[in-house]
Amino acid sequence: MKRAFPILGILTALLLSYALYMALIGAPTEQTMGNVQRIFYYHVPSAWTAFILFFVNFGASVFYLIKRQPAADIVALVSAEVGVVFCTVVLVTGPIWARPVWGIWWTWDMRLTSTLVLWLIYVSYLFLRRFSSGGQTPLLAAALAVLGALCVPFVYFSIWFFRTQHPQPVMGGGGSIDPRMLHVLLINWLAFSCFAFLVCWSRYRLERLQRDVDQAHALESLLDPRGRVR
């Protein structure tokens, strides 16, 4: 198990480098937007990865509510954190793409708005985890995660209808995609998914270690210097 991590790390690094090369050089240049369109190969895979991670958070939270296993709680925490990181990337690269193409930094278009609301929901989840005290955190967080996940379809529906009533330019372009571009997109998605998996694994190990140390501290304060219970 221990050797798998560095091996996967190297493979992921290679995959990411290849994906980067394809995004910058391998993929054909888009007609209307030019090279700026290549941001797409980082923006979209980050979004997909974030959505998958938030879905994992939902699954882990439901599992925790039913089985109360600490490992599930850690998975929920990790997937939410890493999901927020990827979501942040989406929200930052979006405007950087929008500015040269549309001349504006932000537009309340369907995709960006939904992503922003998603980001807000999971950041509030992380706040709850940070601000609640020890024993109750896993249960409270799991309950919030379920509510947040159930909110997601409502977010998409409401913003979709809002946008059909007040149309705005759509970021990321609609319509069909050149198969060569799709190929590069999928490669980048695969690379980022492997990367996300490794980050989650590292964060999981860290959290596990942190909880073991906390437990050791708690035990230490219970025992006196001669190893007897106080």
Binding site: M33, I39, V89, V92, T93, I96, W97, A216, P225
Partner: protein
């Protein structure tokens, strides 16, 4: 093409965000390792 500046910025900031996050994981990890060493030392002392 001015577009290239934005392209570079987008890719750079993506990796900056990821590296900062990984950095926090790594620094917390090394701090924990140090704590474990301390715990082990005091554990040895309490056994004698």
């Amino acid at each position: 093409m001015r577009g290239n500046g934005y392209l570079f910025a987008a890719y750079a900031i993506t990796w900056i965000i990821h590296i900062v996050y990984l950095g926090t994981i790594v620094s917390r990890y090394s701090r924990l390792k140090r704590e474990i060493e301390e715990l082990k030392k005091s554990g040895v002392r309490s056994q004698t």
